[in-house]
């Protein structure tokens, strides 16, 4: 019997209306006591002191790119899951744009097998259409049975209104969400946001309306089919307004935002640094303000990293030729608390909702309870810890982060799940 004592935590779970300073005892991964620690309790127990850090239900990142199968030189299921644990996440959903694509039960099983036994739960998102080509529907029933948590053609939008309609209707009977990367393909293909900055830098732009159009299409189609649509990595003011309107009209639409879209603007591109190249691109200060407003009023349900590892030789290219995407798992708690909590936009409870509760609700995953008898699935974080990002210490194989050397406030202290704790840079059994 393994016994672990976590001392001096502030338990905080808005889903349980829980907010109190206490201690936790975990035995064989299960919470067995919440309260004062007796000398009896301490016998044969491993004790961790947390000095009033906050303990929330484990954080969940619903938008992660693992590169396995296909590009294991950039990230594997295991290194991605390690990065998640180091960043304070106990669950992730991984996107299907692997090679081969996650459009068969076999690939789902392969990924789940690779993740087996890890602290971090890995939930594959399957492609909505075969090879994400937008032509034929992926076998959604079979994929669901194998463990697909949602469907998405991420990397591109679901190609046509017609196949989107079919996907929404078909997935509805499985009670699964369609996650869409909203970008009109005829307006896509630029290297950055279309703005004064793209004019100034001479780079081809992607107009914000390319996103707005598809968000509008998706919301209208969710309304018509009564299916569930989730807007991935929302980045424009127009899209936020459309989602807000959609929710007001009772349409089943949810949205996520990536940390770079509420912390950076396209002003960052002035040095042509490819670590600022992502899709959707960094937008303007006006878009950032609209996104923060959307986070505050609940239009944007959750924060997800769009963690996109790339090998150095791929990113070290001429700006227009470099691939899109940046790492996110190991910096997003820091960025979110720095930009949203310390700047007084969101409370701790709201951040816990966006990082833990809402993504699970969108995906129909049970939200962990902090209660005696429950499996300990917890994220412990200090919202005030000031630290410097060092990409060379990342668990990710790749290093493509624009936040290297940035000073952030707020950091995960430990992640706990599946009878393991990640603390002090290592995994231990509990």
């Amino acid at each position: 019997m393994m016994k672990t004592i976590l001392k001096n935590l502030i338990l905080n779970n808005p889903d349980q209306k829980l907010n109190k300073k206490t201690n936790l005892i975990i035995e064989d991964g299960i919470i067995t006591k919440i309260g004062a620690i007796t000398s009896d309790d301490q016998k044969n127990a491993k004790v961790f002191e947390f000095n009033d850090a906050i303990c929330a239900p484990g954080f969940f990142d619903m938008h992660v790119h693992l590169r396995e199968p296909g590009r294991e030189d950039e990230e594997t299921v295991k290194t991605g899951a390690n990065a998640a644990a180091a960043g304070g996440f106990t669950g992730i959903a991984c996107m299907p744009n692997t090679d081969p694509t996650i459009d068969s039960a076999e690939v789902i099983r392969y990924i789940k097998e690779k993740a087996n036994g890890h602290l971090v739960d890995v939930y594959p998102v399957a492609a909505a259409t075969m090879s994400r080509k937008g032509e034929t529907l992926a076998p959604m029933i079979e994929l669901s049975e194998a463990g697909a948590i949602a469907f998405s053609d991420d990397g591109v939008a679901i190609k046509s209104a017609k196949i989107l309609r079919t996907a929404l209707e078909y997935s509805k009977m499985l009670n699964k969400t369609i996650i869409d990367h909203c970008e009109d393909e005829t307006l896509a293909g630029g290297a950055m946001n279309e703005s004064f900055n793209s004019t100034f830098l001479g780079l081809p732009g992607i107009p914000s309306v390319a996103e707005d159009l598809i968000v509008m299409r998706d919301i209208m189609m969710a309304d018509y089919t009564k299916g569930k649509v989730h807007i991935a990595h929302i980045s424009t003011k127009g899209a936020v307004e459309l989602v807000r309107k959609g929710k007001e009209n009772g349409i089943n639409v949810t949205a996520e935002v990536a940390p770079h879209h509420f912390s950076l603007t396209d002003d960052s591109l002035k040095t042509y640094n490819t670590n600022y190249k992502m899709n959707p691109p960094l937008r303007t200060a006006e878009d950032v303000a609209a996104i923060i407003k959307g986070l505050v009023d609940g239009t944007i349900d959750c924060i997800a990293s769009d963690h996109a590892p790339h090998a150095p030789e791929e990113k070290e290219l001429e700006f227009e030729y470099a691939p899109n995407g940046i790492l996110g798992l190991e910096t997003q708690i820091g960025i979110a608390f720095t930009e949203l909590y310390h700047k007084k936009h969101l409370t701790i409870e709201q951040l816990i909702e966006k990082f833990s509760i809402n993504p699970r609700k969108i995906l129909n995953i049970k939200v962990p309870k902090i209660e005696v008898g429950e499996l300990a699935n917890l994220t412990i974080f200090d919202p005030n810890e000031v630290w410097t990002v060092e990409v060379n210490k990342f668990k990710s194989i790749s290093k493509n982060s624009p936040f290297d050397k940035k000073l952030l406030s707020g950091r995960a202290k430990a992640a706990i799940n599946n009878k393991q704790i990640f603390i002090g840079d290592k995994f231990l059994s509990i």
């Binding site: 290297a191 001479g202 227009e320």
Partner: protein, 306 residues
């Protein structure tokens, strides 16, 4: 007084003193070019690489001639972009070049920002010979030189850049350089060829060519891309020619002198009618001569700076 930077990546933020120094130096070199012996030993022992990732024979020849007139050792390296995507990366190529101890690199590339990237990869002086639709500073400098030579001063004159501003590398450099030198700058094109928020650079926008001709002292007419997807931005060459082509009748209607520049090569009968292309207002061939003198000045000033 030397130049304030050791590279020429663009004309944005290049101070007036630097531009004046380049134009004055170019004047000296132009005089040398009129002599029977056109060669000076100024850059003897310097090795210059012309790194062209995009085919641009005119620009390359102009640079090469300037380099040879200054007695530099010249290496030409042309790569077609299609072979690049398969073979070694830009960074690999540059690391190889670095090992060869090159003093200056003149770079032409289809991707914007590449000259800036190059400054981070090697120690040579970098001269941008055109990057994507971003900048082409020596073209703008030779335009400035040519205007000054013809009109006497740039301060206070009105210059309109006509044509596909959104997909041009010449427009931005001209805007930056002309504004620094005190000109009033405008652009004229169909709205689909005007890039987003260009007014924020302090330029006026015209959609009507006759208004632009009426209001300006100089027209810098850009080449219309007849090929590729450029054609998505306007209905037909015929319509462009009809509503934006500079013709004798259009110029006569205004009844005043106007100076016409064109970076070449011209689409005769499209952006310029034959009559205008060969007429008294244009200085297209002097621009080419001035191009060599201006490039000599830039190479000399950068090459002797450190």
């Amino acid at each position: 007084m030397p130049l304030s930077s050791r590279h020429l990546l663009g004309l944005h933020n290049v101070p007036k003193e630097d531009i004046n120094l380049i134009l004055d130096t170019a004047k000296t070199f132009k005089e040398i070019l009129e002599r029977p012996i056109k060669k000076v030993p100024t850059l003897q022992g310097k090795t210059i690489l012309n790194l062209f990732y995009e085919n641009s024979t005119r620009t390359r020849i102009s640079f090469e001639l300037a380099q040879r007139r200054l007695s530099a050792d010249v290496i030409n390296f042309s790569v077609s972009t299609s072979s690049v995507s398969k073979g070694e990366t830009f960074k690999d190529t540059i690391k190889n070049i670095e090992a060869m101890k090159i003093d200056m690199v003149v770079v032409r590339h289809a991707a914007a920002g590449t000259p800036y990237y190059l400054t981070q990869l090697c120690d040579a002086n970098i001269i941008n010979a055109g990057d994507g639709t971003h900048e082409h500073p020596t073209q703008a400098l030779l335009d400035l030189y040519s205007i000054k030579e013809k009109i006497g001063s740039i301060e206070g004159i009105k210059v309109c850049i006509v044509g596909d501003v959104a997909h041009s590398r010449v427009a931005l450099s001209n805007i930056f350089g002309l504004k620094t030198m005190g000109a009033e700058v405008s652009v004229c094109a169909p709205s689909t060829m005007i890039p987003k928020e260009i007014e924020n650079l302090g330029v006026k926008v015209y959609y009507n060519i006759d208004d632009a001709i009426r209001d300006n002292d100089v027209l810098n007419v850009l080449r219309i891309q007849l090929e590729r997807k450029a054609r998505e931005y306007f209905p037909s060459i015929r319509e462009y020619q009809q509503y934006y082509g500079i013709t004798r009748q259009r110029l006569d209607r205004i009844g005043k002198d106007i100076l016409i520049l064109h970076p070449g090569p011209i689409n005769r009968g499209v952006e310029l009618s034959n009559e205008v292309a060969d007429g008294p207002n244009q200085i297209i061939l002097p621009q080419v001569t001035n191009g060599v003198a201006v490039r000599m000045a830039v190479l000399y000033l950068l090459g002797t700076k450190n």
